[in-house]
Symmetry: C2
């Protein structure tokens, strides 16, 4: 309960319930409009919300409902509802001793309904840090609605509670102002998106089924046994097939706030069920979809978060990998990758010289971590080395830049002066900088240094070097992805995104001759280093789709017969995108995790500590579904 | 393709591609605004939609994309998109022979993009039955986008296709104007609801989880095995617990268009997944929720469906049962039930006399099926008898009213004149009416005749007697339900709705003494004989909730420990409602089944004939979930 100003108690005591003198000039200056345009007291037992009372309400008889937040010396109670807090003044006369007795002694977080008159606080006693700080309500009637027990933690924002306890009592955590803000902002952003899509651009909100058939390669789909023995539904990872079928069905402009499911090891930013803003359009090209999303985000962008400049910048996948070592680069800070292969080819550093000679597919990449030598300790560098060695056994070569252009580090004594100078120049290195080099297969090396670049930023920020401004929103389209990638085991090709992605129009012929060279019409939208949306122009030609499924991907096209048949039935050219709503909201709310923008998230481990889900079922409960838990031996 | 008027072909041939004379007066009169306020061609490859072209567009070069709907004599092609149809005129000069060749011979339902100039049709050749019938587009360029194969059925609304085939090729069925209309209206109604709830009344759209813990008594919940051996999620039948927890969490005004799941034998109006408009408010009473819903429906009510008069009428459950024999009465027609116990007590009809003597809980009920004797055949009456005998072995007593107040029927010879006259007067019977009587336990007899009342209406309507006007919307609140009902097996009590329903404030003490006498604060909203919404004021007192769970319902309260604990943690009084969106939309769209207002419904049998869901999974696919299909022997 921040900002509760100290004030002279005696004068208050003497004043009792009489109205204070009203200073008309002050009244006028405080006649601010009520914060919300919404009628949040309609159909309600209250006449006003706690948060809306202002000087203009002085003299009004009001009915308020809320939670007892704070009690002070049997004189004042702070009452909170979902819209703010107001100070209640307890009656001090004997006739109302019962009111005072009840309100002063109720456990905090108990629920009451009170009636009383709004009065201006005495001159000089207003609390400027409270929206309602000019007034208070002299209570004349009270109804105790629900007495609270002692809670496992307090509803105070500055109170740090471990996340498991917060999730177990999520209904209490939700009362805090941060989650209240996040959930309300989420609702507003979605509503603005709907207005833009439906009211302005004629999109149709269509619900697609979540009980569907298993899709090929759907390894992470939840299964749902049906009452037909041996037959299962699956919870789809996205409405991909349905949205394409809607295009075939002439819906033309579809969107849905879609619940999606992915059964996987939960990482920081994953939940088994998550939400995407799912969009698909017929008769559109890549730039059309991109422009729609740019203007959608601009329209839905919350007040106070700056304005978005359109169009968003664009970067081909290849450039992103070579400049940032990532297909979702955080462009809020520099420290870009530099290809120093030519410099290192005859540097005297044998390891680099050798790997560059070994294969034309190898390269040496370098990053200049500005001023890192001033901050980073040995253990930080060791951490970076350890992390590097997960993908590159040789790790990083580290050079600290000393005064006068000297360098320090394991490699320093091998490196020739011309090479050293060329390196310093290429990386625009100055005293205090730290140069990190790695070599090996080109893309993998870029990826490694891209990862190290982010880890360096994380480390430097712990030292107070601010690299990534949370109030800056850097959007970036990544385009021209490869359509196919070699499978991990080298046995063939797999789709870089999904098998319905259309090849780049310039590369269509290459599908049949050199599939690995084909660029796709896939596009990702990156915000501050997070992929927040991804989509593509889809294949609308049945023959091309069949060829890619059967001949390139070597998949069984039979399970997708309905889609192939649909493509033959007059399928319009179409494309779409899905925005990861949870992640977008987490960035907008500056939340550490998407769990903080979801009302009832699962824990890290995929559990609901509140209800205890998932939970055991008996054989009898499983009987109708004709399944049983595997016996121990299997 | 209705309304394609015949027209002189020769004049068209001679005219070729030259622009016809424009009659300025005619141009003015046709300058109607484009139908939609929405910019449905934004971000698109088309410049206009097929449906929007009017005389004012004459002379404009347009780009259109759509489906070939109809071809006539190598002269004209009707092009359809999601917004309407337009006539294309094919070029007849040799330089454009390729255009003519392609468009005239493409299979219908192929997709093309065309470019051309809008021209007025010659004077006298406008087609007034088409929105775009004043103009046509002279094609100068065409791109064949997708050639359609021969389709399993034609995209014509008058074409009757069996439902299985339609579901198997749902993407084709969706192209028809009926499903297009239904899906678009659904999207609009939901959007208007959102505007009312969010923008006007400050509700917060909160997504609640669909992977949850099994609830007690959740016999029809789908189960979802997790990767933790032996542990399962369930797909909830409604967000009931979450919405109550949101109230405890101070969200205050929650709503969600919620996907719900119920694993049950599919009846006409059921789907395994369905959608409800889910609402919950804190600090509200029953009338507050009712009023919110009334004004919500009034706001969202589609144009052309009349206006809703508020408030909706109300009827206690007991009255509905006694007047209509149903807790969801269709009040669009009369034929109410009459209690004729007093008349039949000494009627000479032994069966009725005896059962009335047997128990004070028995009654005799009668319905006057107006003018039924003029229409119904013996076999219709036999059908009613058969149906009655499902619940009442003695069936119905049937009396036809003859001229002069005589009656005919098996009972006629037993019934005394005073009794007969009293009966005719009570039922306001006239010549040609048919009186149906049944006796037995009071409520069961009412229910039986309520069912028969509807069956009679169904039969009479097959004879062209219109009883139920599809353009009339009769809303009715049913209130004062019993809180508990005796279990089928007589072993105790169960909740009439759900265990979180609050008792009527006047009956709270009876919970502890005479639970069967307690009325609840549950309310149903009935529209034309369908329950389209149901809700209640909830219990917010932990002790009362625990008592009802443990002492009245004899359930294990432990699985609901989180809810009971939440109620102890400062739970506000709260209540809510859920609108069955599918059913509401089906009534608004005059659809025979909710399947016609769902984009991709399951069939009667719970299957998706398009994808083949549900489908078999291999042991390997089930392995990660530690379940297997029960062996044949078990």
């Amino acid at each position: 309960m921040s900002g509760f100003a100290a004030r002279p108690l005696l004068s208050r005591l003497l004043r009792g319930l009489t109205h204070p003198q009203v200073n008309p000039a002050r009244l006028l200056s405080l006649a601010r409009p009520v914060l919300s345009f919404k009628d949040v007291s309609s159909y309600s037992l209250r006449s006003h919300t706690c948060g809306e009372l202002r000087a203009v309400h002085a003299g009004e008889d009001v009915k308020l409902c809320g939670w007892v937040q704070f009690q002070r010396k049997q004189l004042f109670v702070t009452l909170r509802d979902s819209y703010g807090v107001i100070q209640l003044v307890l009656p001090q006369d004997k006739n109302h001793a019962d009111i005072k007795q009840m309100l002063a002694h109720l456990p905090t977080e108990s629920v009451v309904c009170v009636q009383g008159v709004v009065q201006l606080r005495p001159i000089g006693e207003a609390n400027k840090t409270m929206c309602t700080g000019d007034v208070e309500v002299a209570v004349s009637k009270v109804e105790m609605v629900n007495k609270s027990k002692t809670l496992p933690f307090q509803i105070r924002d500055f109170f740090q509670v471990n996340e498991h306890l917060r999730l177990k009592h999520r209904y209490l955590d939700l009362r805090g102002s941060q989650l209240q803000h996040n959930l309300r902002l989420r609702s507003q952003v979605i509503m603005k998106m709907r207005e833009f899509l439906i009211n302005t651009h004629g999109f149709v909100d269509v619900e697609t089924p979540t009980l569907f058939r298993r899709t090929p390669g759907g390894a992470r789909e939840f299964v749902v046994p049906s009452r037909e023995k041996g037959k299962f539904f699956c919870l789809p990872q996205s409405p991909q097939q349905f949205k394409q079928l809607l295009m075939v069905g002439g819906v033309d402009r579809y969107f849905q706030i879609a619940k999606c499911y992915r059964d996987e090891d939960l990482r920081q930013d994953r939940q088994p069920e998550f939400t995407q803003v799912d969009v698909e359009m017929s008769f559109v090209d890549q730039r059309g979809v991109e422009q729609l999303i740019e203007e959608l985000l601009q329209h839905a962008w919350p007040d106070g978060k700056g304005t978005l400049n359109l169009p968003f910048p664009r970067m081909p996948y290849k450039d992103a990998m070579e400049k940032y070592g990532s297909d979702k680069p955080d462009t809020r800070f520099g420290m870009e990758l530099h290809d120093v292969s030519d410099i290192m080819r005859s540097s005297g550093v044998t390891v680099f010289e050798r790997l560059l000679k070994d294969s034309p597919g190898n390269s040496v990449q370098a990053v200049n971590v500005k001023q890192a030598a001033l901050h980073m300790k040995n253990k930080d560098v060791e951490k970076l080395q350890e992390s590097s060695k997960q993908t590159q056994p040789k790790g990083l070569s580290v050079l600290s830049v000393l005064p006068g252009g000297e360098v320090k580090g394991p490699m320093a004594k091998h490196i020739g002066a011309p090479c050293r100078n060329a390196l310093l120049q290429e990386l625009q290195a100055e005293e205090g900088d730290m140069l990190l080099l790695a070599g090996g297969e080109h893309l993998k090396t870029c990826e490694l240094l891209g990862r190290i670049r982010i880890e360096c930023a994380n480390i430097l920020e712990t030292f107070g070097v601010q690299l990534r401004d949370q109030d800056v929103f850097n959007f970036l389209w990544i385009t021209d992805f490869p359509l196919f990638l070699p499978k991990e085991d080298g046995s063939g090709w797999e789709s870089a995104h999904h098998p319905f992605t259309s090849p780049h129009p310039d590369d269509t012929d290459l599908v049949f001759s050199h599939p690995y060279k084909v660029r796709s019409q896939h596009y990702d939208l990156v915000l501050n280093g997070s992929e927040i949306a991804g989509g593509s122009i889809r294949i609308h030609d049945a023959e091309l789709q069949r060829y890619i499924l059967e001949e390139v991907l070597k998949e069984d096209a039979a399970v997708l017969h309905h889609l192939l048949e649909a493509l033959q039935s007059g399928c319009p050219p179409h494309g779409g995108i899905a925005i990861g709503l949870d992640r977008l909201m987490a960035i907008l709310c500056k939340a550490a995790s998407i769990r903080d923008v979801i009302a009832f998230p699962k824990s890290h481990a995929g559990h609901d500590p509140m209800s205890g889900a998932p939970s055991p079922l008996t054989d009898a409960e499983l009987q109708p579904f004709h399944v049983r838990v595997q016996p121990e031996s299997s």
